[in-house]
Symmetry: C2
Subunit: 245 residues, 2 copies
Amino acid sequence: MFDVIAFDADDTLWHNEILYTRAQARFKGLLLAYLPGAGPHAAGWIEQTLYQTESRNLHQYGYGIKGFALSMIETAIELTEGRITGQDIQRIIDIAKDMLNADVELLEEVRPTLAKLSESHALMLITKGDLLDQKRKLAQSGIASYFRYTEIVSDKTHETYQAIWNKYQIAPARFLMVGNSLKSDVLPVVTLGGQAVYIPYHTTWAHEATADTESAQPGYYQLEHLGLLPALVEQISPRDTDEHE
Amino acid sequence: MFDVIAFDADDTLWHNEILYTRAQARFKGLLLAYLPGAGPHAAGWIEQTLYQTESRNLHQYGYGIKGFALSMIETAIELTEGRITGQDIQRIIDIAKDMLNADVELLEEVRPTLAKLSESHALMLITKGDLLDQKRKLAQSGIASYFRYTEIVSDKTHETYQAIWNKYQIAPARFLMVGNSLKSDVLPVVTLGGQAVYIPYHTTWAHEATADTESAQPGYYQLEHLGLLPALVEQISPRDTDEHE
């Protein structure tokens, strides 16, 4: 038995990336009108510049829609060399507001899986992003009551997990993390002696993700979808701490 | 003895409002160039419109600099009827980035007060705003080590305090909150059976704030500055829970 089973939220329990994809499509459509001579690669160029702007601003803005909005505006000014109109900047803000208003759509199998696991285990939500937006999504999701603990964090590093374990007095070996990001949900937990279940958001990503080195890591599992989690939890047990030495 | 003494951060431990005041002054200077015929009340009109925009967006953006930046941009577009240039929008973003980069300046008496109280009590920080920005400020402040617990919240309502007390198993009667906001730091705590110390940010606000009804509330204290807190803590004790019936 694990003391705590923790879940990532964005693209593990509810759809999130799709909101960014749709927003970027609207953003590109808006900017292309300013770049008539830019040729067939203009859309890719916009996308790449936006990504660079986001990466450059990440240490100041952190994750979430508000920082994404500010980076879209900055990118628009840069790519149009300041020619973008006030009205179109307002349209970019409205794209971000639509994201903040978007309905929460759960992935398949989320509700029955949480219902089942919460009968036997303490469940925790660990999600990063804007505090208010994540709280809104959790409230709207209808699944908040399955979680005994909720942690909204600015990043998911080794220090983040260590701090959570200290706070709740959880032994890493008795902690299982479930999420769609190898970087945020799996690697820090596994390298610190916990266990993690990787559930890629798109099944097409599955094969890429199971590089040999990763699947050979003790305490690491991969599933096709969340509905398979209760059966896995029955098979595995907390890590023998000796194995981690 | 209290189980926990909790502190607000912005304008209780470090200066914050001054950053917004300076940013608004730059913002007004920038917009006034677009409004040459607006007369002597133009600055007040800009301020009022910004405040309205912020209030309207608060339920989506929450507290913090990123939402403030987006509201400044929206206000600029509205007041210039879309005439604001891309370069000036970028200047507004740069104002916000300067806020995010600003050095943390502690109020007077903060460090010795926390050093003294942390010898005898568990201290907690409860602050609202952008997650990453508040974490950065705490890290840069040099006072993080005095706090056993840190809570960054999206708002400070009755529910917020209740949730924190539940999480750490704190009895409200044994909890003391210290802050500069009657609305966020004092009233919710006192009405739920805790105690609170109100320390107005500007001493000139002090007299306004001590309305009779408030100072008559059991469990409510007011101090001129944080340096007076250790002496107060020695005089008062956790509330008799009967008194709260």
